[in-house]
């Protein structure tokens, strides 16, 4: 089975060009250089049909950039992106449209992702009419159907975005993405801005839509609870690099990278009371990453080797990869088992 989306050696840099003052000062002998951020650093990634692949990491780790590359919004600086096994850089016009339509994105903030001057009907109907998926006369039916798919009353079609709550807006954004019958939905922190009761509603809806439409998800999030809830497979990123790839259950049972372990350990939990024992230090600036393993300045297991030698991603059993020299030695989590949670949550 070919992967639905496949990324090979994808890089993405952003360069901040020198401003006029710096250029003039350079003429006078100063040495300002353009600064380059390696937002995504040689990432290989495949998304299989029907799976929910979660992309997890903290601010500045490149997860949103990678999501945008997958969605075709941002071209990679180098490396290749294939959709249905075909490289997207040389698609025929028709295949290109199929790709653009086939991968849709839902953004974090529905306040800014919906055009405030368009009605819900226009927002949802515009793309399918343009793509010729539905004649204009029948677009009303399509919009009604999509609105009920995302749990809204069909009469919402006449409303404007400012009349809707945050949760309702996010539902409209999802209906908009579904309108062109995508195969892949890239959700970039799509529930992070929502209240917890609304987040639960939307997470459930994602799972329902997956069954109803046979969708594949790239679910970008920093919320490990939400990830646990929806993901089949998890990719952990740190400063632009993939540090661990694993089936979700195996990852939560026993991480194979010290950074994953720290994330799991420090996510606050409902049912457990403990003193916070944070890992040291801050996330380094991606403008000026550390040498060797990017995580070594904060890693409790770091040695001299980590400071010098960049650890490659290597296989740690079926479907598992870890970029740690000492992946075998990462100790298991000592958190309360699922039984403690079961007591509380009945």
């Amino acid at each position: 089975m070919t992967a639905l989306v496949e990324l090979k050696g994808v890089n993405r840099q952003f360069t901040r060009n020198l401003d006029l003052a710096a250029k003039i000062l350079n003429l006078l002998g100063a040495r300002y250089r353009a600064q380059t951020v390696h937002a995504v650093d040689s990432v290989d990634l495949s998304i299989e049909p029907g799976e929910v692949l979660a992309l997890v990491g903290e601010s500045g780790c490149g997860k949103s950039t990678l999501g945008r590359i997958v969605a075709g919004i941002l071209p990679p600086s180098s490396g290749s992106l294939a959709f249905h096994g075909r490289d997207v850089s040389n698609l025929t016009a028709a295949d290109r449209l199929a790709w653009v339509r086939g991968v849709q994105m839902v953004f974090q903030d529905p306040m800014t992702s919906l055009n405030p001057r368009k009605s819900v009907y226009d927002i949802i109907a515009e793309a399918p009419i343009y793509h010729g998926l539905v004649p204009r006369a029948e677009a009303g039916d399509l919009v009604s159907r999509l609105l009920s798919n995302v749990g809204l009353d069909p009469n919402f079609a006449t409303r404007m975005p400012h009349e809707l709550s945050g949760g309702q807006r996010q539902r409209v954004a999802i209906a908009q993405a579904l309108a062109v019958r995508p195969e892949v939905l890239v959700c970039d922190e799509a529930t992070s801005a929502l209240d917890v009761s609304i987040q639960a509603q939307i997470l459930n809806m994602f799972l329902q839509l997956k069954d109803d439409f046979g969708l594949t998800y790239l679910f970008i999030s920093h919320n490990l609870g939400a990830v646990r809830h929806v993901a089949d497979r998890v990719v952990i990123m740190y400063l632009g690099r993939v540090v661990e790839v694993s089936p979700a259950d195996a990852l939560f049972a026993g991480p194979r990278h010290p950074y994953t372990r720290a994330l799991l350990l420090e996510a606050p939990r409902l049912e457990r009371r403990r003193a916070f024992e944070p890992i040291r230090g801050e996330i380094p600036s991606p403008l000026n990453p550390p040498s060797g393993c990017y995580f070594h300045p904060r890693c409790p297991m770091a040695t001299e080797r980590c400071r010098v030698e960049k650890p490659p991603l290597r296989s740690m059993g079926v479907g598992r990869l870890s970029a740690c020299h000492y992946a075998e030695d990462v100790s298991p989590l000592d958190v309360a088992g699922p039984s403690a949670g079961a007591d509380l949550l009945g």
Partner: protein, 344 residues
């Protein structure tokens, strides 16, 4: 770690660090009066952390701002009283509140840039907070105290950081500076409004660690406003849950999270996706919070409540139970059997 260890010795009869009684905050326009905070009473003792929990629109932030006297027209405090260390303060008296704010009462906001002035060095902003309230303190001493406060919240090289501008610091560092600034005059009470919500989990963890220490070592009382129950579980001793401007439940954190009494509290707990087990579909609360302009006359949660009965058409009072827990519900969950469905 036991509760007694966390809590500095408390002489019986000491007044609570902060006591709020029957606070009412309204927003008045020509057409309509909205009651954002409706008769809220809370109290927090020295060295304790009270979590104020609720979703957007529950009135938790307005409660915090009201206590600080930071409500501007068209908002107004329509009733209630605030006592700091047993002494009553008039939160509508701007000059009195100005003396209190930043000295005995301090606030930390979600976005540290609401606290920090982008064009002033950290040192200037922090020393100003001291010398405004204590003109007798010399600049050198104020600077020294600022440096100590930065060290206290875990900022590396605090002496150098004093000369930084806010834009030179990361989000986590800025929030630490905001917390250090709040601590400068050793306030009795700090009101923290979602201070770690915008931060990454490893940074949040570090900051909560420092807050726990400050609370323990200095006896500072905190009101921690948040929507994140899992932070509450790990940080606070007591929790108050708000809905549509009202308190619906108050009690010790362990009791409330393990045996919630109000159906809304239960719904919030069930909505949190658990990181340690895959529960399948979550059990969300149906619907959404009503608008303040369109509140039902019934129990405010009744339209969303899976357990509602005919009696819910009248808004229930907040009942104080013999064990000290408070709940605003005619059928608290411990009086309802598990398979009793209600007529929803």
């Amino acid at each position: 770690m036991t509760e007694t260890l966390r809590q500095p010795a408390l002489a019986t009869g000491d007044p609570p660090a902060l006591e709020v009684r029957n606070l009412v905050t309204q927003f008045v326009t020509r057409a309509i009066t909205l009651t954002a905070v409706d008769s809220v009473s809370i109290s927090v003792a020295r060295g304790r952390i009270l979590a104020l929990v609720g979703e957007s629109g529950s009135g938790k932030s307005v409660t915090g701002l009201s206590i600080m006297g930071l409500i501007d027209p068209p908002g107004r405090i329509a009733g209630g009283e605030v006592r700091v260390g047993g002494v009553r303060f008039d939160v509508t008296d701007d000059r009195a509140m100005q003396r209190l704010r930043g000295d005995r009462l301090a606030m930390i906001f979600q976005d540290p840039m609401m606290t920090l002035n982008p064009v002033l060095r950290i040192s200037r902003q922090m020393t100003e907070a001291i010398t405004t309230h204590h003109p007798d303190v010399s600049r050198a001493e104020a600077r020294q105290r600022a440096q100590e406060a930065l060290a206290l919240v875990g900022i590396p090289a605090p002496k150098e950081r004093l000369d930084s501008f806010p834009h030179q610091l990361s989000g986590g560092m800025r929030q630490r500076v905001a917390i250090a600034t709040a601590l400068l005059n050793n306030p009795e009470v700090i009101i923290a409004d979602e201070p770690t919500t915008a931060l990454d989990v490893t940074i949040q963890s570090q900051i909560l660690h420092e807050v726990e220490r400050v609370c323990r070592d200095h006896g500072t009382a905190f009101i921690w406003i948040t929507h994140d129950l899992s932070v509450v579980a790990n940080l606070a001793q007591d929790v108050t849950v708000m809905y549509a401007g009202r308190i619906v439940e108050t009690g010790p954190v362990r009791d409330v999270l393990e045996r919630p009494l109000h159906p809304y509290t239960r719904g919030l707990i069930d909505s949190v996706p658990d990181i340690d087990s895959r529960k399948g579909r979550l059990v969300p609360i149906m619907g959404m919070m009503p608008l303040l302009s369109d509140l039902p006359v019934s129990c405010k949660f009744a339209p969303r409540c899976p357990l509602r009965v005919a009696g819910c058409a009248v808004e229930p009072p907040l009942v104080v139970r013999p064990d000290g827990r408070q709940v605003r519900c005619i059928r608290p969950l411990d009086t309802v059997s598990a398979n009793d469905g209600g007529e929803a």
